[in-house]
């Protein structure tokens, strides 16, 4: 893990929020917009440190709410909650397996909007809800699930292509060199 990964994740979050606001094609076709922030949070929680998880929750949530009618900061809490739980359990998760990534993406993409709406209702807001919201929730869950393995592949490729690998120390020590032959 290095700082390149953190910058890459934050840049991806910025572009994801921009894409969700600027390209409403998916909303026209399926009636719902897929949110990629929970997907990025799954990747960040499994592959980076807690600082990156916190930064993604803070900045991603703020960017999302800045373009939305949500009260500012309401998306921070669900994103961080998802990231924190996955981060704490990540030693038990088979993070390299696409099916595990798929399932984690589905759970995160289902939990994030549900928690956000719950917070909105708790705060006295009146979001647009109805039976159609169930369909939107399913689309968001399925979209997030499908996007997660793709995001993992993309970041792994980026890491290999652009990230630097830490230099491994050699085990050679001159004072431990075995001198052969007569002195």
């Amino acid at each position: 893990m290095n700082v390149f990964n953190t910058i890459l994740i934050l840049a991806a979050a910025f572009l994801a929020v921009f894409g969700e606001a600027a390209f409403p094609l998916l909303r026209h076709w399926l009636g719902a917009q897929v949110d990629l922030l929970p997907v990025l949070m799954v990747y960040a929680a499994l592959n980076t440190d807690i600082v990156t998880v916190s930064l993604l929750a803070l900045l991603g949530g703020l960017w999302f709410d800045a373009l939305s009618a949500n009260p500012l900061g309401i998306s921070i809490v669900p994103l961080f909650a998802i990231g924190f739980v996955i981060y704490l359990q990540r030693e038990l998760i088979l993070r390299e397996v696409p099916f595990a990534q798929f399932m984690l993406g589905a759970v995160a993409s289902a939990a994030a909007p549900a928690l956000c709406v719950l917070l909105l209702l708790t705060g006295g807001q009146e979001p647009l809800l109805g039976w159609g919201s169930l369909w939107q929730w399913l689309v968001m869950t399925a979209g997030g699930a499908v996007a997660t393995p793709i995001v993992f592949e993309f970041f792994n490729w980026c890491q290999k292509a652009f990230g630097y690998q830490p230099r491994t120390e050699t085990s050679f020590r001159p004072d431990r060199e075995i001198q052969r032959g007569r002195q």
Binding site: F18, A57, A69, I76, V77, S133
Partner: protein, 267 residues
Amino acid sequence: MLKKKHYLALGAVTLMALLVFSLPQRATSRLKLAAGGLFLPLFGLLNTAQQLPVDAANAVMPRRALLKEIGELQRENQQLRIQGAQTAAIALENDQLRALVGWQRQTPWKLKLANVVMRDPANWWRTVQIDLGSRDGLRENLPVLTPDGLVGHVAAVGFARSQVVLMGDPNCRVSARVENPAHDVGVISASGPLDGSLVELTYLSGNAVLKSGQNVVTSGEGGIFPPGIPIGQIVDSRAVEFGLYTEARVKLSANFGALERVWVLFP
């Protein structure tokens, strides 16, 4: 399981979230606009990219087609001028009559064209952002419409962009009048989250006689929307609460799926 670093991260994020929640409304709006301003270069790039094919198509358009279009536009312009002159005469007559009966004089509408730059990324709100702001004289609660009908109203104003709440959002309620013999008045309220072209017209009187296809316009009550702006047509109606009042579904006149340019109305 929880290390010191984890506690610190948890505390920092919770503190930041609480700090943002507890900010005064004005500071939150400013912070929101500042954070949203980070996206402006990207939206500028997107607009340029979308404009490129249009410019390229215009560059290769044959001169004959352009001349034909100019001719048609000149004819249409002349027709509209004649209609405008007639409307001005009617308006003058209307003003004189209003003065005779002591009614307040009506002021003509002023309109400003705005481009829709982005839509709400959240599925539970129905808002868009337009490229006009306080520098263009916009203020909250100004009506927004298209030539087809009412769209919504300005909810928040930044320096160079503003947020418009669309009809069908729970935060946009419009007093509406059905163009039937009884002129029944109701309130346009939130619709379902999937079909943005249908809204609910509620609190109509229990004995309202509604027919499919009847026009619905703004009633002018409420102080935000001037009267007579088209909203849509009645689709169907039903009695609610054992006939206490009537609800109707209204098909909106404006095409919300293809909102690109809207007009902000300065009453």
